[in-house]
Amino acid sequence: MTAIVNVFLKEGVLDPQGKAAHHALDSLGFKGVKDVRIGKQIVIELDTDDRSKAEAEVKEMCETLLANTVIEDYTIEIH
């Protein structure tokens, strides 16, 4: 199975990269952009076919290493 983890700064924590990209889009004439947030995507290949086991394991990976939950939120998709 493949797990796709998306990590973003929490709502309310200023995202300097998102803000810079937003500003650049404005300068390039892309009007109507309300917000830009930049995160990272981590793709993990797992050697299990057990979805719930995969989910639990990837959640633990996020809590332990992949996200810093002081400033970041994460989402997990399993395929």
Partner: protein, 227 residues
């Protein structure tokens, strides 16, 4: 005569301030020992652990995120739990927040630049083992050099830091007024834990030991641990 300290200086792959840190403490008359990150224990009879600056593990994932799982960090945690003094400078500060030994987190500077310059800092609290030789509200001149120094803590956490006197330093102008340098919450440059034995700061006191190099204000900071 003042007691000579034995200072353990940690070294991870990518650390680059370990020799400056050794030089600093040896210049002040102390003994230093480099400790490789794979060590599961710290040398005996040490008086201080310093986690120096650099780019441990290339800052991959997040600054300090990988280094915190090095074997030596378990020993550092145990040492801190027993009340031993730990100082994290720059990347060392990032490692200590990632390890949960210090509150908050350090994110990318708000202007996205690597900032490298001399910076004035205001001493906010000096009732601790680190800044006891500095005056409260004293303005110090110490170099900074970082891309991820933007200190974040939520409102509740900040209130706790304030109430316990855990804010050590703030970026300021020459008169001591707070200035925005990297986007840190209330311009925080350094904090300590509630027990006041684990200290972290983004600026580099080990680079401010000689007037000819721009400042010797780092001396009184590092000498604090002699008390």
């Amino acid at each position: 005569m003042q007691k000579s300290l034995k200072v353990a200086v940690l070294r991870f792959p990518g650390t680059n301030c370990e020799f400056d840190t050794q030089y600093a403490f040896e210049k002040l008359g102390h003994e230093t020992v480099l400790v490789w990150h794979e060590n599961k224990s710290l040398p005996e009879d040490i008086d201080l652990v310093v986690v120096p600056g650099g780019f441990s593990y290339g800052d991959y994932l997040r600054s300090g995120a990988i280094a915190r799982f090095s074997p030596v960090m378990e020993a550092v945690k145990a040492y801190a739990e027993q009340g031993g003094n730990v100082l994290g400078i720059c990347n060392g500060f990032q490692i200590l927040t990632e390890a949960g030994l210090l509150p908050g987190a350090l994110k990318r500077n708000n202007n996205l630049h690597f900032i490298s310059k001399h910076q004035t800092l205001k001493v906010v609290n000096n009732d601790n083992a680190f800044l006891n030789r500095c005056e409260k509200d004293e303005v110090l001149n110490i170099p900074i050099a970082h891309a991820d120094g933007n200190y974040y803590i939520d409102d509740e956490g900040l209130a706790e830091l304030e109430a316990n006197g855990q804010v050590l330093l703030r970026y300021c102008d020459a008169e001591g007024n707070p200035v925005v340098v990297n986007g840190s919450v209330t311009s925080i440059a350094g904090v300590c834990n509630a027990k006041k034995n684990v200290f972290g700061l983004m600026p580099h006191p080990e680079r401010a030991l000689e007037a000819i190099l721009g400042s010797e204000d780092g001396v009184k900071m590092l000498k604090g641990f002699e008390a």
